[in-house]
């Protein structure tokens, strides 16, 4: 009897507390959610819609719907070349970032303070410096009147007209690697922070050479960082604008610069939107299938560190 009279107010209190708590997360995240749905969701949907509108150079955007822009992007060899070039540059840039960034991260990891902190700052700091500034540096280095050209001339390797890597694939890739390699370092660094260096000692104590220990024991443990860093670098390169635009110019068009040109030079917004949508879809497909491949391939050994 007493138990009954006690239990009822308790349950009431518990449920009323629950009822009022239930809406708290929605109040807390509501402003940001509404902001994002309106200012991110709507613009993306409108871009998708725009890609289906007709376009005429004299009358501008038409009233009728069409898939002709998609047909054009998917069938025209002009666009094939642009997409192929973009992904080829991305692939080479990614490989170079792995080859440069992963060893550098490991070297940084094996340094002792204060050198470690100093060089970590030197390596990651450029990420915070404007891309325009960093790319300008490469223009000054590899351009026709640049340091590289002067050096080549001094060594007699280039004629009096100078030597320029501007508007070449090599130039674009060098500058892209420079811009993006810190992402690889930070990604591998995150893996290294979880690494137990005594596993290296264990391998050495079992008779492995330093190189074998590195290859068989250390590398597999930092592989998650290399894999996720590669994804970041590849996806960013594939959609990068500033560097290919400044160094590649009009001659070496990539997807991002062709979107820019359709929008701001040709004013053909529907076609520009179509290229942007195709780029977005390809990026999503690549990211998702890569993540799934990594997960299936390495799930057991790398656990949650894989992503």
């Amino acid at each position: 009897m007493t138990a009954m009279t006690i239990e009822i107010p308790n349950r009431e209190r518990a449920t009323s507390r629950f009822r009022s708590q239930r809406w708290i997360p929605f109040w807390l995240s509501g402003p940001a959610a509404i902001f994002f749905l309106i200012l991110l969701g709507l613009p993306l949907l409108m871009t998708l819609a725009l890609s289906f509108y007709t376009f005429d150079y004299t009358q501008g955007i038409g009233e009728t719907l069409t898939v002709s822009h998609y047909a054009e992007v998917l069938s025209d060899s002009y666009f094939h070349e642009i997409f192929l070039r973009t992904y080829a540059i991305s692939l080479v840039t990614t490989l170079l970032c792995v080859l440069l960034g992963a060893p550098e991260a490991y070297i940084l990891y094996r340094m002792r303070n204060p050198w470690r902190s100093i060089f970590l700052l030197v390596t990651l700091g450029p990420l915070l410096i404007s891309v325009v500034v960093r790319t300008l540096g490469w223009v000054l280095l590899i351009g026709g009147n640049g340091l590289l050209s002067h050096a080549m001339q001094a060594l007699g390797l280039a004629g009096t007209r100078g030597f320029s890597l501007m508007y070449t694939h090599t130039g674009v890739v060098i500058a892209m690697v420079h811009v993006l390699v810190p992402f690889m370092v930070i990604s591998v660094w995150a893996s290294l922070r979880k690494l137990d260096m005594s596993t290296n000692d264990a391998a050495l104590s079992l008779g492995a050479s330093p190189f074998t220990a590195l290859r068989r024991v250390i590398f597999p443990q930092i592989l998650p960082g290399v894999l996720s860093g590669s994804l970041i670098v590849f996806a960013l390169t594939a959609s990068y604008f500033a560097t290919p635009s400044i160094i590649g110019g009009r001659r070496l068009k990539v997807v991002a610069t062709s979107v820019y040109d359709e929008y701001l030079s040709s004013m053909n917004w529907p076609l520009g939107a179509t290229i942007a949508v195709v780029l977005l879809i390809l990026n999503v497909i690549i990211v998702m299938s890569y993540s799934r491949w990594v997960e299936n391939r390495f799930r057991r050994t790398l656990g949650e560190g894989g992503a």
Partner: protein, 268 residues
């Protein structure tokens, strides 16, 4: 043996030196060119001059763009932080319908190429009549910097010992007092780190801003990009040098305060 095995060998140090040279070379070149006494792109072989720094003062358009970037960064980073704090508390502390969706939504700008965001915002803002306004720049920048503030603040909330809040309440603090005196101060490093990363991201952003900015509302990176498209002269180098110096100062504060590797890898 164990000490030796943890040290870098000669090859490693050579590699490291070349790597650092590769990273630093473009920045050093920019700074060198900025001090040239000549009227054209060249290295200061015959002496240092500040003429190209003085030249900046004769370009009110660059100075105005700089102020626009500064204002934009301050407002966008602050707005993103103000929205991220409650959102992070909701995501970290409550299980609710749509939680995973919201988490994905808030982080999605990291996955969407900025060029795509740029054309999307261009279409959207010109459609609703906000095209080229400062407000449209702010809205667009809040979207792209909020993943950074949210990630760091989320990490701060998750890393917080909730028993400290219970301790405060057991000592007589109200829920509000406990939040203000115990929770918020412990989140502060994450909030400040997130704000700073958001500010610098907004300040540097080019790809998306190129589409949203207008001649009257342009940012420094857009201004410089448009300038490079036409000509490359030592003025760009001196402006870049100013940006490098300011960014390095900012970076040192950020590193001192929070740890650059932690900020950039988004881990608490």
């Amino acid at each position: 043996m164990s000490v030796d095995s943890r040290r870098n060998g000669r090859t490693a140090l050579v590699f490291h030196t070349l790597f650092v040279i590769f990273l630093m070379a473009p920045l050093v070149v920019v700074i060198l060119v900025a001090f040239t006494p000549n009227g054209y792109l060249s290295y200061p072989t015959s002496g240092f001059s500040l003429r190209w720094f003085r030249a900046i003062l004769d370009r009110p358009d660059f100075i105005e763009a700089f102020y626009h970037s500064l204002n934009l960064g301050l407002v966008a980073a602050t707005l993103a932080t103000v929205m991220s704090v409650p959102a992070a508390l909701a995501l970290a502390r409550f299980q609710f319908v749509g939680r995973d969706f919201l988490n994905g939504l808030f982080l999605s700008p990291l996955m969407i190429p900025h060029i795509v965001l740029g054309v999307a915002f261009l279409g959207f803002f010109s459609q609703i009549g906000l095209g080229g306004t400062f407000a449209s720049l702010v809205f667009a920048h809040v979207i792209i910097v909020m993943p950074y503030t949210l990630r760091l603040i989320l990490a701060a909330v998750m890393g917080l010992d909730r028993e400290t809040e219970r301790a405060a309440v057991s000592l007589g603090a109200s829920a509000f007092t406990s939040f203000r005196r115990i929770t918020l101060p412990q989140m502060l490093p994450g909030i400040a780190g997130g704000w700073m990363l958001a500010f610098i991201t907004s300040f540097d952003e080019l790809t998306m801003t190129v589409f949203v900015a207008s001649p009257s509302n342009t940012t420094l990176p857009v201004k410089m990009y448009n300038y490079i498209e036409q000509t490359v002269d030592p003025l760009l180098a001196s402006v870049s040098t100013v940006i490098i110096v300011l960014t390095v100062a900012f970076m040192l504060v950020l590193d001192r305060f929070y740890g650059l590797d932690r900020v950039l890898s988004g881990k608490g």
